[in-house]
């Protein structure tokens, strides 16, 4: 199966197609050239024997007028013996078609209405056996009801023509075979190279930027292209690394003072009585640190996802969706919301399990936040036309069609959400994570409510 596919792949490759077109063109060219040669040679060979016969017929026609029958018979006998039987042939018959003179054993059985030229076969000795030879001849009547046949053995010329025809066919077939074979070989070579390149490209797209395309020690276009792409990858890797370094130092420079703030506040709280107003102030400080931390976490995760600098692995999406539903089921039930799910098993994607979980958590957090009591949330993992899709549907207020694009931007909170807790980064994180996984994020009307689809 695999081999068959590879074979078909080669047949579909561009070098094979190109060489197929070329070999057909060359074969047609060869056929035309050799055909012309064949035609010309036949003309010359046929023409010369025909002229020979015409001249002989002319001579005999003149002789029969001046010679007596017995002299004419003698002449015919003489001419027949002069020639090897494979050369000129003669036959004179009486009105009953009995041979009188000549070197052909019998008058050929030929329909009377045939034209000036006739062709027939005669057995001639060939070593120990006999061979049928093709003869070409003209007939003409003699006085007294006698008839004369003058012709020539054309077997040799037929042999030459046959040989030429076979050579012509062989040349065309050989041209085609060489062309197709060469094309197949080139196609396989190119496909092997293209296959190696696309295998590496897949790994690179999965986030392994350290991979490079294989380069052979040759100066052809593919190798040049591969070298240039590798140069580009070096650049991208450098940029990504730089981006990661910037992110890491930004994270470090924000987390370190936040940590100090938290430590200072906590240290202060330890020395204060539980209900003192000063302690309550410090408690508010730590609450704000928590908020800043979760906003910072969200921003960093968005940045990581957007720059694609996250390690990727095989993620069992079925397990992930099921366990997220399982994680959120009790809390939604407590709020009087029914969380229903339908998850097909065995769906795998390449990506970051933690980021996908965070994205799904954001969607579920949102759905729970906006769904009224006795509402429903439905979570699906299903196989759509192009690939798996995760859908989170609620029957909350939804998002108006004209605002759906906007909410994916950073820190957008629609009016109705202002009184609810949250950083406003939830959906932009979902958008970034979706993009990181090469998926599409689609917001839709669930009638009523919001339907969010992650189409992988």
């Amino acid at each position: 199966m695999d081999q068959e596919q590879r074979f078909l792949g080669v047949l579909g490759s561009s070098p094979f197609r190109i060489s197929m077109v070329y070999s057909i063109a060359f074969a047609l060219g060869a056929a035309a050239l050799l055909g012309a040669v064949y035609f010309a040679v036949s003309q010359v060979v046929d023409g010369s024997t025909d002229n020979l016969i015409e001249a002989e017929v002319q001579g005999l026609r003149e002789q029969v007028l001046v010679l007596s029958r017995s002299d004419f018979i003698e002449l015919v006998e003489q001419r027949s013996q002069d020639q090897d039987v494979r050369g000129a042939v003669y036959l004179m018959v009486d009105p009953q078609l009995r041979p009188v003179a000549g070197n052909v054993p019998a008058w050929p059985k030929i329909a009377a209405d045939q034209g000036k030229w006739i062709q027939f076969k005669v057995s001639v000795p060939f070593g120990d056996e006999t061979r049928e030879h093709e003869m070409r001849a003209q007939r003409f009547p003699l006085p007294g009801g006698y008839r004369m046949l003058v012709g020539h053995d054309v077997q040799e010329r037929q042999d030459v023509k046959n040989l030429m025809m076979r050579g012509l066919i062989a040349a065309v077939v050989l041209t085609m075979l060489l062309g197709l074979g060469g094309g197949f070989w080139m196609g396989r070579r190119i496909l092997a190279q293209a296959g190696a390149i696309s295998a590496v490209a897949t790994q690179i797209m999965r986030g392994d930027l350290s991979q490079r395309l294989p380069v052979r020690d040759a100066e052809d276009e593919i190798n040049t292209l591969a070298r240039e792409i590798n140069g580009m990858l070096d650049k991208i890797e450098q940029l990504t690394l730089g981006m990661r370094t910037v992110l890491d130092s930004a994270a470090h420079d924000l987390r370190t003072p936040l940590n100090r703030l938290q430590a200072t506040a906590e240290a202060g709280m330890r020395q204060l009585a539980p209900a003192s107003p000063e302690r309550r102030v410090l408690e508010r400080v730590t609450t704000e640190v928590d908020h800043m931390r979760s906003t910072l976490d969200a921003l960093l995760r968005i940045a990581l996802a957007e720059t694609g600098t996250v390690a990727r692995e095989a993620v069992d999406l079925s397990e992930l969706v099921a366990s997220m539903v399982d994680l959120y089921a009790p809390v939604s039930e407590e709020r009087g919301i029914r969380l229903e799910s339908s998850v097909i098993p065995g769906v795998q994607v390449q990506g970051s399990r933690q980021l996908l979980a965070q994205a799904l958590a954001n969607l579920l957090d949102n759905a729970i936040k906006f769904t009224p009591e006795r509402g429903h949330i439905r979570v699906f993992l299903r196989q759509a036309g192009s690939g798996p899709e995760v859908i989170v549907e609620d029957d909350g207020p939804g998002i108006p069609a004209d605002k759906r694009e906007i909410v994916l931007g950073r820190r957008v909170r629609l009016d109705q959400a202002r009184k609810l807790p949250g950083s406003g980064l939830g959906l932009s994180l979902v958008a970034a994570v979706t993009k990181l996984h090469g998926a599409r994020l689609v917001l839709d009307d669930a009638g009523p409510g919001l339907r969010v689809a992650l189409k992988f």
């Binding site: 990661r244 992110l247 890491d248 994270a251 470090h252 987390r255 370190t256 936040l258 940590n259 100090r260 703030l261 938290q262 430590a263 200072t264 906590e266 240290a267 330890r270 730590t286 640190v289 931390r293 979760s294 976490d297 960093l300 995760r301 940045a303 990581l304 996250v310 390690a311 366990s323 399982d326 994680l327 959120y328 009790p330 809390v331 039930e333 407590e334 970051s352 933690q354 980021l355 979980a357 965070q358 958590a361 954001n362 957090d365 729970i368 936040k369 807790p421 949250g422």
Partner: protein
């Protein structure tokens, strides 16, 4: 317990040392990686708390060097980086647990406690039967009984209880539960873990006089026998 803190940020280091000493531990401190590695290799430690970005020797390199010399001292890595997969690299380098800054001291103390007691409690990984007071959990038959009475639990409640029992007597935070039971590392906006715990509490404590599952204010939960 003897704990080493390797942290270059002085405010964080001082508070950490103070809190750990107040909790009754012996504390050594180092403000750079080299000194940290030197201390970690020469002193008999119960736990090392190592910041990830350190002068002179990087925190990860410190842990790797320590592991290369065959030391199995539990290490808690503190990180101020971007997280997500930094956690994985940290754990791969030989760290045993990973905490991102800013952290609550209660979270850190709970994790230090869990690390220190890993393996030495009666309810270790290897045991198929976990026991606390009259509560018993059999990992093989997936049967839970309290006072001989069978308790019906969902698969997830069972996992949750198993995790709590393995950490019985310790404080277990919400993030520890999310990591340990669900293998997720994020802060849910809604109180998802609390609801799971209250369901588990319903199942194991409702019909009994002495509650086993306690809420530790400002920290998390604890499964223990006494008040």
């Amino acid at each position: 317990m003897h704990i080493l803190i390797v942290e270059d940020d002085q405010v964080a280091r001082d508070y950490l040392a103070k809190a750990l000493r107040e909790a009754g531990h012996t504390v050594d401190v180092a403000d750079n990686g080299l000194e940290g590695l030197h201390l970690a290799s020469s002193v008999a430690l119960d736990i090392a708390i190592v910041d990830r970005m350190l002068p002179k020797l990087d925190g990860l390199a410190l842990v790797q060097s320590l592991r290369a010399t065959g030391r199995k001292t539990p290490v808690l890595i503190l990180s101020a980086l971007g997280e997500v997969d930094d956690r994985i690299t940290g754990l791969r380098a030989g760290g045993d647990d990973y905490l991102t800054k800013p952290y609550h001291m209660s979270e850190l103390l709970a994790r230090v406690d869990a690390l220190a007691r890993r393996g030495d409690s009666g309810n270790s990984e290897a045991n198929t039967k976990l026991k606390l007071a009259d509560l018993e959990l059999d990992r093989m038959t997936r049967r839970v009984t309290r006072g001989g009475k069978k308790i019906e639990l969902t698969a997830r409640e069972f996992q949750l209880l198993e995790f709590m029992m393995r950490h019985s007597g310790q404080v277990v935070t919400r993030t520890m539960l999310l990591e340990g039971v669900w293998d997720y590392h994020f802060d849910p906006q809604t109180n998802v873990i609390d609801v799971h715990i209250s369901r588990l509490r319903q199942a194991i404590d409702k019909d009994f006089d002495k509650p086993l599952l306690h809420t530790v204010r400002g920290a998390g939960y604890s499964l223990r026998e006494d008040e």
